[in-house]
Symmetry: C2
Subunit: 448 residues, 2 copies
Amino acid sequence: MVALMSVPQIILKKRGGEENSFEELKTLIEGYLEGRVQEGQIAAWLMAVYFRGLSKRELKDWTSLMWHSGITLPRENKNTVRIDKHSVGGVGDKTSLILVPLVTAACEKLYGKGRVKIPMVSGRGLSHSGGTLDKLESVPGFSPSLSVDKLSKLLETQSFFMAGQTGEIAPADRLLYALRDVTGTVDCLPLIVSSIMSKKLAENLDGLVIDLKTGDGAFMQEKAKAKALGKALVEVARAQKVEAVAVMTRMDEPLGFKVGNHLEVEECADFLTGKSREAGLSEVVLELASWMTYLGGRKKLRREKCREACEEALSDPRVFQIFTEMFKSQGGNWDAFLSEGERLRQDWKEIVWKSPRAGKVSAIPARAIGHFLNDLGGGRNRKEDAIDHKVGFEFFRKVGDPVKKGEAVVRVFCSASHDPDSVRERLGKIIKISGTAHRKRWVIGALQ
Amino acid sequence: MVALMSVPQIILKKRGGEENSFEELKTLIEGYLEGRVQEGQIAAWLMAVYFRGLSKRELKDWTSLMWHSGITLPRENKNTVRIDKHSVGGVGDKTSLILVPLVTAACEKLYGKGRVKIPMVSGRGLSHSGGTLDKLESVPGFSPSLSVDKLSKLLETQSFFMAGQTGEIAPADRLLYALRDVTGTVDCLPLIVSSIMSKKLAENLDGLVIDLKTGDGAFMQEKAKAKALGKALVEVARAQKVEAVAVMTRMDEPLGFKVGNHLEVEECADFLTGKSREAGLSEVVLELASWMTYLGGRKKLRREKCREACEEALSDPRVFQIFTEMFKSQGGNWDAFLSEGERLRQDWKEIVWKSPRAGKVSAIPARAIGHFLNDLGGGRNRKEDAIDHKVGFEFFRKVGDPVKKGEAVVRVFCSASHDPDSVRERLGKIIKISGTAHRKRWVIGALQ
């Protein structure tokens, strides 16, 4: 029998740059959950991890321990394939709401109804970045907090759900994230990877597509850092026999025309019905959808074939039907959502910012827009902040678009307490108009 | 008004290698004492300090904040001079018990009775290192836990006291030390310096002599690290107008003939009565005593003169009288101590380790002896361990001494539960006998 190491010794090993064994990591996390390890000990270890990192083996073990602190969603049967998409976060990033119905429809066509399941566990917005759960909740009545039984039922009946992290999924991660949030250890690659993957592994997946955003509005602003994150995520997934691909996409300006919870759900509906499809959003959605569909078929079809199926699904009315069913199956009232949108346009202040000169839109820095949304009440600076789902921005012009002097670039929806002049002044400082500017491709590449 | 920084932002600054302002440090420590800052936040900051260090300014501020979390011992009047000695810890390090009476007697002669005060706040043993409080408590009835009123009274009546850190002295340090102890942040230079100095500054000193031990049995085994610690201690003291000197002394083998709480108090008595004076102990005591006496006279006399006064005091019976009064004034019963010593020799197992060959004692590694003492019950591996004061070692030979084959090198006092053969076997692995070996000077030098 090997003598158990004391917790201070475990911390000292990490502090000195040594690897912690599986047993040592287990002592830490189980002890913390059971109250035998002090908060301060975990915090000191987390800070030591910030400076010393985790080896591949440690990262695999740590993720696994967090994952197994909670349940794993049971599998209905062996003939289904479970896939999901995870975005590392951005501004105007509403792709999950489009991908779930789109990929479901494409996979129905390619592989048969009910073969591919999408158990999507999402998070909330924080700092400049939005969150899928907040967007979903802008539909009156929608509930993302469901029991494991109900989640399994949804997977069976409609092949997908969109839920929040329940107390049963990776409870260690919830505790640790709360501690990291107050101890300055959020932006630490191995801790980010283990946090993301512990929840995704609890979904009992076969395939995972990671939307690896990079640029001004991403958490990883530098491509090299985003790449390192993507590589680590893919490695940890594969170590647990989950096929994974990380698609690097640009997050320099907000994705799509709209930013803000209610407005983004509107945009998703418009996208799926074909009423309006912003070019960047289309590009990102089709790339992610084709990868998801590819993994949904266990890579047996060529990816071009998968892409074609997704493109075709976009003109299939079935997709918008799945979209509205998605809300309905979790208590959401789509008609009430539409009425809210009408009321919003009647009652709410709309502030339009017009271009002060002729030229091209050369920058709409995503991070500044995200922070502005928070300051107008539409997002969270701190995780306990309440959100006004109706607050948001609607862009009429995106980067690369020509604009005339005095032409509307963006419309702001906010409560009457905000002074239109100062809102316009702040927008004038954020948005850049210049002589030349060109659209860039949104999809940078894929890490397999 | 400057907006207050949030605690996570304060931690992130330190993590990134930036300096924290006085206000930020104050937010941390006051918030922790008042329950507004979480244990995990302090622990994360402490670990970030381990990796990033503290600037001179930060160290001065942090020490000052810890000091002012409690009281400062009031000054009786302006004509007195307060001095103290602090040892960074070692094995067989009993000098405090000798220095208090010796320096008191020397200063009485040089500067007049009651002019120099020694308010000595000491600590307990931990790991391989002994602690003055534990040694004092081997005298039955002795109490190191006294109120500030009683401490002030003792300074007035007999010019010194030997006490433990009370709840009123640097309470922030007590809390922080307990946290550092469990979070792997004990051995961090700025945290060691601020911990030591916050308590010493609370004594309201004019002068401080630091016994900067280095070598096998010291916390700072390398000279360069010990020097850095000494430099930082002296700087922080001077920044608060306390004259300070750090005397670097060797801690390769135990200091003196005896190791163990009861035995070391015996050795101090023998030293002061002249019955037995181990050469290394004499060298270290006289060096420290002369510096203390020098600072006690505000550096007005030459140090050689101070040393002579200390040497003369060693043959003055007044010194041993002060020694016994020291215990008596704090409840100690010297006669009971002497009876315990007699009983110890009658009742207890004495295990003698004899040299397996002729030669010279070439090493008695202090750290191994300290750990052995703990394992025999005479010291603490963990701070909650109980101590048997009577357990200890008595060396008949020290490093550099010639020894014949079969001649006794050390006698061990321990309870009957220990097997003599295994005790001897372990000693045989620790103590080295070789063909040649020579005594080294114990005092390496002084950092002023």
